[in-house]
């Protein structure tokens, strides 16, 4: 112990909070069992392909299209969710209106509903002969069986992530901060854009990242509404299933690996932005 404590950098900072060893041990073991082993199996399989084969498989036009559609629609849906999720959370936090409790509970429905049910319901609504679809049809807008349909489904499944991450932070906003902005001459718009929204940025980013990640991996609800036309509305997870059914395990692993890498990279970037904005005004430390 004496030699350990004499070194300048120490793995473990002295702290009054007990259980560091136990907590870290459980964390690592659990992550290994649940996350790391399955994922390393995937990496191991794809590394068996060889580099040139891997490149060839990922650059296959159908694969590229499917990845673009998956990430593109997930991104658009997450942006839309960020925007409307913040407004929805605002309404739930700030205003009293009849049925508020019900709406609050409804936000969680996409968590609970089997995604296939959601997909079928949305398809029924947005199909050319559905309630909403038949209204949009004369305008020349098609939702179901196009990438737009995928976006609609992903907005549905991603909504609770943004609302539920932003809501608690909003509840903590001190009314006095808004009043301070007003006494300094800021109008409503300036107060929102310069004072309130920047404070919500870290939580908003978390919600965005969660909704985005969920959207990239979403399968159940999308396949019903997407139409699944190769090169047009075929998502990457579906293509993986198709390849598996063709016993083309090499292609399936390649697509999965690319999805994994892209997702991990994007989540890492978002996390870093968060850590930076959080560290600035002393939430974390």
């Amino acid at each position: 112990m004496a030699s350990r404590s004499s070194t300048r950098w120490r793995f473990r900072q002295p702290s009054v909070i007990p259980g560091f060893g136990l907590a870290l041990g459980v964390t690592l073991a659990w992550l290994t069992l649940i996350v790391l082993i399955p994922i390393s199996g995937l990496i191991w399989r794809s590394s068996g392909l060889g580099w040139s084969k891997f490149i060839e498989l990922t650059l296959d036009p159908r694969t590229v299209n499917a990845l673009t559609i998956s990430f593109g629609t997930a991104f658009i849906a997450a942006v839309v969710n960020l925007f409307f999720g913040v407004i929805l959370a605002w309404a739930l936090v700030r205003y009293r209106f009849p049925g508020k409790r019900v709406i609050d509970a409804m936000v969680d429905l996409p968590f609970a509903l089997p995604t296939a049910v959601a997909g079928i319901a949305l398809t029924a609504l947005y199909a050319p002969n559905g309630w909403i679809g038949s209204l949009l049809e004369p305008l020349g807008i098609k939702i179901a069986f196009t990438p737009a349909g995928i976006v609609v489904a992903l907005i549905f499944v991603g909504l609770p992530f943004v609302v539920r991450t932003v809501q608690p932070i909003m509840e903590e906003i001190d009314k006095e901060v808004e009043e301070a902005a007003a006494t300094l001459g800021a109008n409503r718009f300036q107060t929102i854009s310069r004072v309130l929204l920047p404070g919500l940025l870290p939580a908003g980013l978390t919600g965005f990242a969660l909704a985005f990640a969920r959207g990239v991996g979403e399968y159940g609800s999308v396949i019903f509404i997407a139409g699944n036309l190769p090169y047009v509305s075929e998502i990457a997870p579906l293509l993986i299933i198709i390849r598996l059914e063709e016993f083309n395990y090499a292609a399936a692993t390649a697509i999965a690996s690319v999805m994994l890498l892209l997702s991990f990279f994007m989540l890492l970037v978002i996390n870093m932005i968060q850590a930076w904005s959080r560290g600035r005004y002393g939430y974390g430390s």
Partner: protein, 369 residues
Amino acid sequence: MEVRVQNIRKEFGRFPALEDVSLDIRSGELIALLGPSGSGKTTLLRLVAGLESPTEGMIFFGEQDASRKSVQERNIGFVFQHYALFRHMTVLDNVSFGLKVRPSNRRPPAAEIRRRALDLIDLVQLSGLEKRYPGQLSGGQRQRVALARAMAVEPNVLLLDEPFGALDAQVRKELRKWLREIHDRTGHTTIFVTHDQEEALELADRVVVMSKGAIEQVGTPDEIYDHPVSPFVYGFIGQSNCLNVTLANGEIWFEDRPIGLRAANEPDGTATLYFRPHDIELIDGCGGCLAGLVTASRRVAGTRHLELDLGRAHPSVEIELPPERATSTDHTRVAFRPTKWKLFRKEEKRGAAQQRVETPAAELARTGT
């Protein structure tokens, strides 16, 4: 700028937080709103700021009716009890916020904004910390950022809600002195709220004593302390004793004997006698005095406090003596007589109480409005 509050009434739901409050504040004055918690100080301050709108009454800034103006238009500086700093902004950005959000025709150029903000940061002695975030500052430093931010907009009037409420005693004392200096240097008309009488009496040009949504008394610290106009003010400011007495033929009686104080022209009946612990004289050989047994004795800094029991039916009375006099009265019975005192008649309504003071400054007896 002068601020006039006229017959303001404010109800929250059906609860009246302020009832018919009127107050004239002179230009450049440093005025304190003092009262116990829940007396409506914050409400009055927020009404002046425009953060609340009055149920009835008007507020004037100079000659202009400010009642109809929005918070933004009133151009006030408000320092909140818990500072309400923008925590995602640096100190510099916090202080320059008020100038940056001005419409472009009234907004100074960016370099000018920066210069003015840095000047203010200098004024509040935070030079070098302008790049810090509020989370990286101590309570006292945050307080000063809040003050600089409020002063940056060159407010008509500066409003501070319990500005030192959340700070420890040491820092409070320092900031108090420092706020007075800043006020003297910048000359802003300033209203600050406090429940700490020491703070109000030490800092303010005039003190407004509030209780239960009404103003009890307005006056300089000396007037408030030496000539309280109501039992509430007497009890709230400083130490005081009160005794139930009776009046007969212009003489004040305590229980069964006169105590040697005269209140001519007062009708007979019961009354309450107020006096401060240090406004008494000891008497040898009591032929008209108050007398009691010493039940406790404490040395507080330069004086000795004696607690006297005047009989079980009365609350105990505290008197203050120079320590050398107190030791000479080491026997347990002490006879004394108030030298400065005031009578309040119970049956009369608050604020309309008749008072008489028999003191060297007797002519000031009826000054407090």
